[in-house]
Structure formats: structure tokens, C-alpha cells
């Protein structure tokens, strides 16, 4: 096991990693930016280094200061969490070059899954279904031919992309030239890589992902699926649940088997997630996230596994302590993301001071948060304030418990997503289960249209 782990992150995930390390008896080192100096993630860690001022580019993305801190304090491993440097293959390689274990898959895996076009090609080779699509497009003519072959509507995507940047829906050939130009420019500006490819657009899919865990000795298991179809108009997840409701067993098994085959094909190690679009009985590989996900707690609750501890153990060279047959889910879990965002104003993030903070407790409720009353929410980072997770024996129990938990949650000082989550939980469609990714945007837009 490691001597000391540096946690290269902030917020709730930094606390999450700190907890896993401490439960394994491993001391921790926090890093922080100046506005985060009094944050809970700093107080919980055994040591802490200030690595820069507020803007992430100068602190949480400051590779030199982070690596220097790790070397100075005698850490022998770095956990990147999610976001920031978590899927940066170059950072992973720099860690290794400085004899610091990177708690995640090898840099080559991160790189190949980070390149969307390459990831699609690798998956297609492994027999994993992907949406019909193209290779890298060398020109507009190339794009036109590919779109013709695939059939409109198509999705133009940046191979280096993420977060919806460099992505355009193209309904017909007339729109292609301008879409191609703007997507290329956006990709160039955001990722310094203007390469694009095309995919067929799947209308109103469900977003279902499968958690995998592999050690360095070739053992790979899946830990079931998560339904992440409740997404904001920006396609960011808001509510997740596991197992996926209203999913036929053959499709569920196909998702699990496909995810395992995909992870094996790339020789995956550590925790990873394969994201799929599900359209009726068709499933399509979307992308692989080579890190811990925000929504990992729902899997932990129903499988009784600590994914972050497993990440650390795997990176420390331990064998997976269980086989596929040992793992079966118990009950249902739901996560609501409580963000400092105003749903009535396009989910605009907000900063400020929290004057009052109360979280739920009692049976079947888990809260992961870094905020307390008096916390300052700096304007620089992700707007996630807390993850409220509820587990129950049945999905109806879990929903009732989540409603109860949210009714006990109080955050004053910034607008939050608490009420919109409650609206979703209350809706007939959500209760029936199996809504698609357009559910929240259409409901949301519809609600605003009425006003």
C-alpha cells in the first residue's frame, strides 16, 4: 500500500478520496487554491499545500506545483478525482516519470479513450456497437459523403471534444457547410485540435452507463449499470439511478457483457465507465470515462463496494478482492446533484456565501459534500455543492426516501437544484421509469413556456 497519497482535487470528491485513504490507513495531502484555504477538504487532510490562486489553470491544473508538492511531502501516489487533471494522459505520464503512482489507468489508455474517434474505432474492432459514423473527416467534401452514407440527421463531433464543445447537430445537407466551419473553429479554439468526425444522431436516447473495475492482472468485473438520463439542457447529468428502471433483462445483460468485452479489449485497469446510448433495443457505445464518476455512490450502495478504495488498491498493485460471481446488486439507489445553479435561469452557476446549510440523515441516506454553513462558493469551479443519495429495497422506497431526504435539505445563500430535483421525483414519467435524455429539457422548456 502507498505511504502517502496526494489528492489533486477539491470539493466533495477530494473529501471522498480522503475518506477512502484514511479508511485504508494511508495519510493524505490536500492541495488547494487560495480561495479554498479554509475548505473542508483542506481540514480533513493530514497535510495541505497551496498550489496557486483561484483560477483553476493556475492552481488545480498547475501540474508543476502539484508534482512539486507531492515530491516535497514524500507522497508516492496521486489521486486525480474527476475533472481537472483526471483524464489528462500527459499528467498521468508526468506522475509516473516522477515515480508517483497515478491512481487510474495507464496514460496510453487515457489517451486512446480521450480521442473520441480512436475510441470508437477501437470499440468497433472489439465488436462493440457504435452509432454508424465516419473516420476523421479531412474536408467538407469528406463530411458530405459520410453524411450521405450515414443518413441525416447527423452529429458533427470534435475528436478531442467533451462537454458539448465542437459538437453540432446537422439536420440536412444544406446546413453542413456552416456547421462544419463553426464546429472546426470551436474545436480548434477549445482543444487546439480541429479534427472532426460524424455520427448518426440518435433522437431521444436513454443514457445508461456501466461501471467496470479491473486490476493489473487482467481480472475485470462490471458493477452493473447506472441510468443517467435526467440531464440538463447542456446534457450534464442531474439525477442518476441504479439499476436502470424499465429495462429488459436481455438489454441489461447486453450492456454488461458489452462493457466487459470493451474493457477487456483495451486491457483496462482501475475504475472506468462505459457510456451507452440506449434506443429501444439498440445500444451504442458513446465514450469511456477513464476515471471515477461523480455518480459512483449509487453503484457503491447497491453493490456494497467502495470504488475509491478499490481504485487505490488496484493502483497499489493489489489483486481485485472479488470475482464477478461475488457481485450482485441489492436494492435501488438514486443520486440527486445539488448544484449552485439557478434552474429558472438556464442553470446559470452562482457564487456566494452559504448562510444556512442542513443535510438529511437517518436510514438509507448518504451525503457527499464539502460545504457547511458559512462556506464561500468561489466563482472558479464546478457548481456541485452536494450529492444526496438514497437507497431502498425497491425503487419506490428509494424515491420516497429521496423525497424525504430533499425535504430535509436546506441551503440558503445561492439558488440550487433542490426544487427541480423534487419536481422530477414527483413526476409521473419519472416514477414510471425509463425516461430519455430529452425528458428534463422538454419538461423544463415546456414549464417555462407556460409562464
Amino acid at each position: 500500500m502507498f505511504r502517502k497519497i496526494l489528492i489533486a482535487n477539491r470539493g466533495e470528491i477530494a473529501l471522498r478520496i480522503n475518506r477512502a485513504a484514511h479508511e485504508l490507513g494511508v495519510p493524505t495531502v490536500a492541495i488547494f487554491s487560495e480561495p479554498d484555504r479554509t475548505s473542508l477538504h483542506v481540514r480533513h487532510a493530514d497535510e495541505a499545500f497551496c498550489v496557486g490562486p483561484g483560477p483553476a489553470a493556475r492552481s488545480y491544473l498547475n501540474v508543476a506545483n502539484i508534482i512539486s508538492a507531492a515530491l516535497i511531502c514524500g507522497a508516492d501516489a496521486i489521486h486525480p478525482g474527476y475533472g481537472f487533471l483526471a483524464e489528462n494522459a500527459r499528467f498521468a505520464q508526468i506522475c509516473i516519470d516522477h515515480d508517483l503512482a497515478f491512481i487510474g489507468p495507464p496514460p496510453a489508455t487515457i489517451a486512446s479513450m480521450g480521442d473520441k474517434a480512436e475510441a470508437r474505432r477501437k470499440m468497433a474492432e472489439a465488436g462493440v456497437p457504435t452509432t454508424p459514423g465516419s473516420e476523421i473527416l479531412r474536408s467538407l467534401a469528406d463530411a458530405r459523403a459520410a453524411a450521405q452514407r450515414i443518413g441525416y440527421p447527423v452529429l458533427l463531433k470534435a475528436t478531442a471534444g467533451g462537454g458539448g464543445k465542437g459538437m453540432r447537430v446537422v439536420d440536412g445537407e444544406d446546413d453542413l457547410p456552416s456547421a462544419f466551419a463553426t464546429a472546426q473553429a470551436e474545436a480548434e479554439a477549445n482543444f487546439r485540435d480541429g479534427r472532426l468526425y460524424l455520427e448518426r444522431l440518435v433522437r431521444k436516447p436513454r443514457h445508461i452507463e456501466v461501471q467496470v473495475l479491473g486490476d493489473r492482472f487482467g481480472t475485470i468485473v462490471h458493477l452493473g449499470e447506472r441510468d443517467c438520463s435526467i440531464q440538463k439542457p447542456s446534457h450534464q447529468k442531474l439525477i442518476e439511478e441504479a439499476p436502470a428502471p424499465a429495462l429488459s433483462e436481455p438489454i441489461r445483460e447486453k450492456l454488461h457483457a458489452t462493457a466487459l468485452a470493451a474493457a477487456r479489449a483495451v486491457g483496462y485497469s482501475n475504475a472506468g465507465t462505459l457510456e451507452f446510448l440506449v434506443d429501444g433495443s439498440e445500444i451504442y457505445f458513446m465514450e469511456m470515462n477513464t476515471r471515477i464518476q461523480v455518480e459512483h455512490p449509487i453503484t457503491e450502495l447497491i453493490y456494497g463496494v467502495d470504488l475509491v478504495k478499490e481504485q487505490i488498491r488496484i493502483a497499489a498493485g493489489e489483486h481485485l478482492g472479488f470475482a464477478q460471481d461475488d457481485m450482485s446488486p441489492h436494492g435501488y439507489a438514486i443520486e440527486c446533484r445539488i448544484n449552485a445553479e439557478d434552474p429558472a435561469n438556464g442553470f446559470a452557476p452562482s457564487a456566494g456565501t452559504l448562510v444556512d446549510v442542513e443535510f438529511p440523515g437517518g436510514p438509507g441516506v448518504r451525503v457527499d459534500t464539502h460545504i457547511v454553513a458559512g462556506s464561500q462558493i468561489p466563482p472558479y469551479y464546478d457548481s456541485l455543492l452536494a450529492k444526496v443519495v438514497a437507497v431502498g429495497r425497491t425503487r419506490a422506497n428509494a424515491i420516497a426516501r429521496m423525497e424525504r431526504a430533499l425535504s430535509e435539505t436546506r441551503i440558503e445563500g445561492v439558488p440550487t437544484t433542490i426544487e427541480i430535483c423534487r419536481d422530477v421525483l414527483r413526476s409521473e414519467a419519472f416514477r414510471a421509469g425509463g425516461v430519455d435524455v430529452e425528458f428534463l429539457p422538454s419538461r423544463f422548456i415546456a414549464a417555462r413556456a407556460v409562464v
Binding site: E34, R37, F49, C50, S59, S68, L71, C73, H98
Partner: protein, 132 residues
């Protein structure tokens, strides 16, 4: 011994801290460890201005810009030493690179907060320079 530390070392740092936008200052040596904290960051940045209440002096605190290990310039400056201009006082070694720490102008070295070979993090006070 403790009184001396307070008189000699704490006064300049407290004065500079009051003027700065720092939320925490840690000063440690063999004799004592002192930490000053502010609940809310001061809006004013480190800048020449009114001095401490009792000393009527103006201090600039030179802080670390990178995370690393501090090495004094040879021969090392000492407290009380006068600087006739912008001088390199130390380097912070990080990932094998020595990043210079400069006095940013003339003045008297009022206080040295760090020791040779000490790890420092971003924003950590290194030297107080008396500009008066």
C-alpha cells in the same frame, strides 16, 4: 525568548498581514510557530502604505510563487541587511528548476520567515522588506 520572538518577528509580519490580501500566515522556526488567520480576505493587496501602529514602517512581504524547497542565495542575506536595489534573495527549487525570489526593489531585510531547505507553498511569506 517568546517575548523576543513576538517583538522581533511577529510585529513586521502582523503589520504586513494587515495590509495584505492573505487569509493565513504561518511563521515557524526553532523558537516558535505563529499563525495569523483572517476570517474574510482583506480586499487590499500587498502594497506600500501605512505601516504598523507602533513602528510606523512600511513592509512588503515577498511570498512564494511556486511550490518547492527554498535555498538562499550565496552568501545568504541576513535580517537587517540593506538592499540597494532589486536583488535575488533566494531560489525555490521545484522539479529540478531553481525559480528566483527577488526583493522587488531596495529596502532593509526586516525579517526572514524561512530556513534553508524548507518546503514552501504558494503564497507563503518568505521575506519582509522594510521600504521606509
Amino acid at each position: 525568548m517568546f517575548e523576543e520572538t513576538v517583538e522581533h518577528r511577529l510585529r513586521p509580519i502582523a503589520a504586513a498581514f494587515a495590509e495584505s490580501d492573505l487569509v493565513r500566515i504561518r511563521v515557524a522556526d526553532d523558537a516558535a510557530e505563529i499563525e495569523l488567520r483572517r476570517a474574510v480576505p482583506n480586499a487590499r493587496a500587498v502594497a506600500p502604505g501605512s505601516g504598523g501602529e507602533q513602528t510606523n514602517r512600511t513592509y512588503d512581504v515577498i511570498t512564494a510563487e511556486v511550490v518547492g524547497v527554498l535555498h538562499f542565495q550565496r552568501p545568504p542575506v541576513e535580517e537587517g541587511y540593506s538592499l540597494d536595489g532589486d536583488r535575488e534573495l533566494a531560489q525555490i527549487e521545484a522539479l529540478g528548476i531553481r525559480n528566483p525570489v527577488r526583493s522587488r526593489g531596495a529596502g532593509r531585510v526586516a525579517c526572514i520567515y524561512v530556513a534553508e531547505g524548507q518546503p514552501v507553498d504558494y503564497g507563503q511569506p518568505l521575506f519582509a522588506i522594510d521600504r521606509s
